[in-house]
C-alpha cells in the first residue's frame, strides 16, 4: 500500500516521528497557555517569545556566559540549562505579572492580550537586534547524540528526538496529575471557578495567580531549551510556532488540561502525516482543521460553551 503511494514505511515512520516531536511542542505550549488562561483569563501572547527566550538563554549559557565573565572554560551545559532556564523564566514571568499584568485584571481580556503582544515584540526585537535572524546552532548533549538503529523495521531513531518526546510527555502528564489529582490542583481549579469564594477560605489567591503565570512561563522556557538542539535558535522561532499553537488551542477548546495535551500531540501527528501524503498542504492543514472544527463544534473539541 505504501509503495503504491510512493512512500516507504521508513519514510512514513520518520515523518510520524517529526510530527510527534512538533506535537510535543504544541502540547507543552498549549498546556502553558491553558494554565495561564485558566487563572488569569489572559491569552499570553508573549508565550512564543518566552519560548524563544528560553532557547536563547540556554544557548547564551552554553556559549557566551563564560566569556562575559572572563572564564572562557566556564559554560552552563544542557542538563543544568534544563533546570535553570525554566526557573529564570518563571522569575521573569513573576516580575511581569506582579508589575504589569496584575493591573489589568479588572479590564476587558483584550488588554491582557495587547500587553503581552507588546512584550512579545520587545523580546523578539531585542534578540533580533543582538543576534540577527540568521540563527545559532546548539549541539545536543553528548549523552543523547547518535541514533538507536531499529533494524527489524529498518528505521533509525535519533536519540535526542526520542528524549524530547519522552521529556515533554513526562512534564505534560505530571502537570496534569498535579492539577487534576492533588490538593494544590484542586485549589487551582477552584480558583478558576470562583476566586472570591476561595479567597474567603483563606487561600492567597493573588499569590496563586502569580505562581500560575510563572509556571506557565517556565513551561515555555523549558520547551525552548528542549527545542534548542533541534531547531535553529533564532528570534523568530517562537512567533512562527505560536500561531499554530493558537490554532491548536482553538481546536482543543482549552476546556481541559488533558484536552490541550492530547490536541497538541494529535495535531502534530496529523501535520506529519500530511507532509507524507500531500506536502504542499502541511503548512495549512491545522488551520483547515480549525475551520472545520469551528463549523461543527464552535467551542472546540474539549471545550465547554460559556
Amino acid at each position: 500500500m505504501f509503495e503504491l503511494l510512493g512512500i516507504t514505511p521508513q519514510g512514513l515512520a520518520a515523518q510520524l516521528l517529526v510530527g510527534l516531536i512538533n506535537g510535543s511542542f504544541y502540547a507543552i505550549l498549549s498546556l502553558g497557555l491553558a494554565i495561564i488562561f485558566g487563572l488569569l483569563n489572559i491569552i499570553n501572547f508573549s508565550h512564543g517569545a518566552q519560548y524563544t527566550m528560553g532557547a536563547f538563554i540556554a544557548w547564551i549559557g552554553l556559549t557566551q556566559v563564560g566569556q562575559w565573565f572572563g572564564f572562557p572554560d566556564f559554560s552552563i551545559n544542557y542538563w543544568f540549562a534544563l533546570i535553570l532556564v525554566p526557573l529564570v523564566m518563571a522569575g521573569f514571568g513573576l516580575i511581569l505579572e506582579r508589575t504589569m499584568l496584575k493591573r489589568l485584571y479588572h479590564l476587558d481580556h483584550l488588554y491582557g492580550l495587547l500587553l503581552t503582544f507588546g512584550f512579545a515584540l520587545i523580546i523578539e526585537g531585542m534578540f533580533r537586534h543582538w543576534y540577527g535572524i540568521s540563527g545559532e546552532s546548539y549541539p545536543a548533549p553528548e549523552l543523547l547524540q547518535g541514533v538507536i538503529p531499529l533494524e527489524s523495521i529498518g528505521i533509525i531513531l535519533p536519540k535526542y528526538r526520542l528524549w524530547v518526546v519522552v521529556a515533554s510527555l513526562v512534564v505534560c502528564f505530571s502537570t496534569w496529575y498535579v492539577i487534576e489529582r492533588t490538593k494544590l490542583g484542586s485549589y487551582l481549579r477552584a480558583g478558576t471557578e470562583n476566586p472570591k469564594l476561595l479567597q474567603a477560605f483563606g487561600i492567597n489567591v493573588p499569590l496563586m495567580i502569580s505562581l500560575a503565570y510563572a509556571y506557565g512561563v517556565g513551561l515555555a522556557g523549558f520547551a525552548g531549551v528542549l527545542a534548542a538542539p533541534i531547531f535553529q535558535v533564532n528570534p523568530l522561532m517562537g512567533s512562527n510556532l505560536i500561531i499554530v499553537v493558537f490554532a491548536v488551542v482553538v481546536i482543543g477548546g482549552m476546556g481541559s488540561i488533558m484536552g490541550s495535551i492530547l490536541t497538541g500531540l494529535a495535531l502534530g501527528l496529523i501535520e506529519g502525516l500530511t507532509k507524507v501524503f500531500y506536502p504542499e498542504a502541511s503548512g495549512v492543514v491545522i488551520f483547515v482543521i480549525m475551520a472545520i472544527v469551528l463549523l461543527i463544534r464552535p467551542a472546540g473539541l474539549f471545550g465547554r460553551e460559556k
Partner: protein, 309 residues
C-alpha cells in the same frame, strides 16, 4: 455634530488639500499615512464600535493589495477596476473569515482571525501568481478612467485623498446610523442586544465585511502608491500594527485611528534606519498604551475637554 467639530474637520480637509503646495512633507509619505489611516479607520469600525478584536486584518489588506497588483500588472486593467475587484475580493474573504470567527467570542475571536489570516499568508507564499518572497513589483499606476495619469505624484495624492475622504465619510455615516447604534449596543452589552431581538451575529458579520472591504481598499491604494504588493502586507505584524495605530490614537473615536496612523507611520519612517529598534519601540508603545493611557491620544484629549465642561 457640533459646529466646532465641523470647523475642525473643515480645517483638516483644507490642510490636506493644500499639502502638495509645500516642501516640508514628502507627498509619498502623506499618501502612505492616508492609506494606513484608512486601514486603521476600517479596523476601528470593528474594534472600537463593534467591540470585536480582529488580529487578522492584514489578510484583507494584503489580499486586496495582491489582487490589484496582479490585475493591473499582468491583466493590464485600469486602476479603478483593479481597486474595485480588490475590494470585492477582500470583502468576500471577510465574509468567509467573519462567518467562521463570529462563532467564538473575545480572545478566541482574536485567535481565530489571527490563525485564518496566517493561512492566507501561507497561500500568498505558495500560490503561483503572488511571486512568493519577491511579491509583485513594478505595478503600473495607470490612467485613472483613462484620463488622469497617476504617474504624477500630485494627481495620485489627490486620488488617494479623495478615496480616503470617501471611506472616512462612509465610516462616520455607518457609525452614526441606526445600524451603527446597534453595533454599539452589541459592544456594550451583547446579551442585552440579543434579548432586544437583534440578530447579533448578522450585525457582527456585516460590520466585519464592511471593515474587511475598507481594509482592502486601503491595501489596493497602498499597492498603487508604492507600485508593489509583498508578503509584508499579509504578515501578522501588519495586523499588529493596525491594532497599535487604533489603540494609540484612541479606539472608538472617529479621528483616533487617523492620528494613530500618522504617529506610527511617522515613527517607522524615522526609525527605519535603526533596524530592529523599530520593533522594540512598537512593543514599548504597546505596553505604555495599555498600562498608562488606554483611551489613546484623541480619547485622552476628548476626555480632558469633557471633564473641563
Amino acid at each position: 455634530m457640533s459646529s466646532k467639530i465641523k470647523l475642525l474637520y473643515g480645517i483638516l480637509v483644507l490642510i490636506a488639500l493644500l499639502l502638495p503646495f509645500q516642501d516640508f512633507i514628502y507627498l509619498v509619505f502623506a499618501m502612505k499615512v492616508l492609506c494606513f489611516a484608512l486601514f486603521a479607520c476600517a479596523f476601528n469600525l470593528l474594534l472600537g464600535f463593534t467591540g470585536l478584536l480582529s488580529f487578522g486584518h492584514a489578510a484583507f489588506f494584503g489580499t486586496s493589495a495582491y489582487i490589484t497588483a496582479y490585475l493591473c500588472k499582468e491583466a493590464g486593467l485600469s486602476p479603478e477596476f483593479g481597486i474595485v475587484l480588490g475590494v470585492l475580493g477582500s470583502g468576500f474573504l471577510g465574509f468567509l473569515i467573519g462567518s467562521l470567527a463570529i462563532r467564538r467570542q473575545g480572545i478566541y475571536f482574536a485567535m481565530v482571525t489571527l490563525a485564518l489570516s496566517q493561512m492566507v499568508y501561507f497561500l500568498a507564499v505558495q500560490l503561483p501568481f503572488t511571486g512568493g518572497e519577491d511579491g509583485i513589483q513594478g505595478v503600473p499606476r495607470g490612467m485613472l478612467f483613462g484620463l488622469i495619469d497617476l504617474k504624477d505624484d500630485v494627481s495620485m495624492y489627490y486620488f488617494v485623498l479623495a478615496i480616503f475622504l470617501l471611506g472616512f465619510a462612509l465610516i462616520v455615516r455607518t457609525v452614526h446610523s441606526p445600524f451603527g447604534q446597534v453595533l454599539k449596543a452589541i459592544r456594550e452589552n451583547e446579551p442585552r442586544a440579543v434579548s432586544l431581538g437583534y440578530d447579533v451575529d448578522r450585525f457582527k458579520l456585516i460590520s466585519f465585511v464592511i471593515s474587511a472591504a475598507l481594509a482592502g481598499l486601503a491595501g489596493s491604494l497602498k499597492t498603487l502608491v508604492f507600485q508593489l504588493a509583498t508578503l509584508t502586507d499579509v504578515h501578522w505584524h501588519m495586523s499588529g500594527e493596525v491594532v497599535l495605530m487604533t489603540l494609540l490614537g484612541g479606539m472608538g473615536t472617529i479621528l483616533g485611528p487617523v492620528v494613530g496612523a500618522g504617529i506610527v507611520v511617522g515613527l517607522q519612517n524615522y526609525l527605519a534606519n535603526i533596524g530592529s529598534w523599530s520593533t522594540i519601540a512598537t512593543g514599548f508603545i504597546f505596553v505604555v498604551c495599555v498600562l498608562a493611557f488606554r483611551r489613546g491620544v484623541v480619547g485622552e484629549i476628548t476626555h480632558f475637554f469633557k471633564n473641563k465642561n
